[in-house]
Symmetry: C2
Subunit: 225 residues, 2 copies
């Protein structure tokens, strides 16, 4: 049955992995389950990815890049800072990220990054990208205070995502019902927070530079190594 190309199989296995993580709500899914969901025998998973960890990391990369594509596409054509900020916010709470599968993947990958150096690195890439997108969009509005504000907005996005994601019947045990989370509220919150931050800054305008926090390039998200 030498059928499909390596690339295809890998993709199918990754998709199956995410599907199963979504269905079970945990990383405790067996290779057999994943293989079965991919319509393939268990051994094949180990043939393409050498162990489970690497399969998970591949799945994580897939989720991350899916989100990245969403943002990129949402930004396409948006020129004004506010348009761009809106695009980022909406992509963060859009359908792609709010499928049960994606939610389960995100949350569990957060947990995974507590024990896996690799996973932590991937998450860090996401954070850096988000931060840099926000800074780019904010700078025209608030200049050098953009990095500081961006850090809060990024935190807000993550936090709200988590809260909406875990909200109520959101996930629970698989059933026929349609959970259908809606993230539009989330992006509205984000936009309001941005508005508030910007208003405040234009208000304190003159003195802002000197009394502001002395090192806005601090730890949280900035190139480290």
């Amino acid at each position: 049955m030498a059928r499909k190309s390596e690339a295809e199989r890998r993709q199918e296995l990754i998709a199956a992995t995410i599907r199963e993580i979504g269905a079970k709500g945990t990383l405790n899914v067996t290779t057999s389950q994943i293989a079965q969901s991919a319509g393939v025998s268990p051994g094949l998973a180990f043939h393409y990815f050498n162990d489970k960890e690497r399969l998970f990391l591949a799945a994580m990369r897939s989720i991350l890049s899916e989100y990245g594509n969403d943002v990129r596409q949402a930004l396409r054509g948006k020129k004004t800072p506010d348009e761009r900020l809106g695009a980022i916010a909406e992509a963060s709470f859009g359908m792609t990220s709010f499928r049960r599968e994606a939610i389960s993947a995100w949350v569990n990958f957060y947990a995974l990054s507590l024990r896996s150096e690799q996973a932590r690195r991937l998450l860090y890439v996401y954070q850096r990208r988000l931060h840099s997108n926000l800074v780019d969009a904010l700078r025209p509005k608030i200049g050098e205070r953009a990095p500081d504000v961006a850090r809060r907005i990024a935190g807000l996005i993550d936090g709200l995502y988590l809260r909406y994601a875990l909200d109520t019947r959101g996930v629970s045990n698989a059933d026929g019902e349609a959970p259908e989370l809606d993230g539009s509220e989330g992006s509205q919150h984000v936009m309001r927070a941005i508005a508030a931050e910007c208003t405040e800054i234009s208000e304190n305008d003159v003195i802002s530079t000197e009394q502001a926090d002395p090192d806005p390039m601090a730890i949280l998200v900035g190139p480290q190594e």
Copy 2:
């Protein structure tokens, strides 16, 4: 060896559970590990908690109530709204919540709540308390817009916590080194966000009531059942 009271043993086992979750960075810890860490035989864990799930839930309750105590204590004596908001922020990023054990517990319990109804309920209690604390402290400053703002601030707290918690070498594999996360930055971010939200509101003062979002008591955190 009939030694300690039930209450004591339960407490010891709960502490050991959190300790092990912290050390391994995951909920994949065996009952034997936990028992050993508590200086007790594996069987005893099942004697007091009937299964592992319940042991985890007890640990989660413990973490949650630890945080609750921190907040209560921080609020003690604080009268002005700003003092109270500062207390909440600092408690959220205080030492108690930033030990590696607590971080690992929180993050993994978030993931757990994707598959456990019980865990989700517990998390919901935490969210409701945080929200209500924030609203109480915000209302004197911004009146009926407090709930809406509180939702963002709560999200910001969660999100920043997550980001600081996962930051860099934060956890990784157990070693002798002292990671010693510092959350004081987090609370400063929170205070700045609050300041921004309040400034903006006092600015838009007159029109604010009518153009505000029509239903600030929306889904995210509000009594549901």
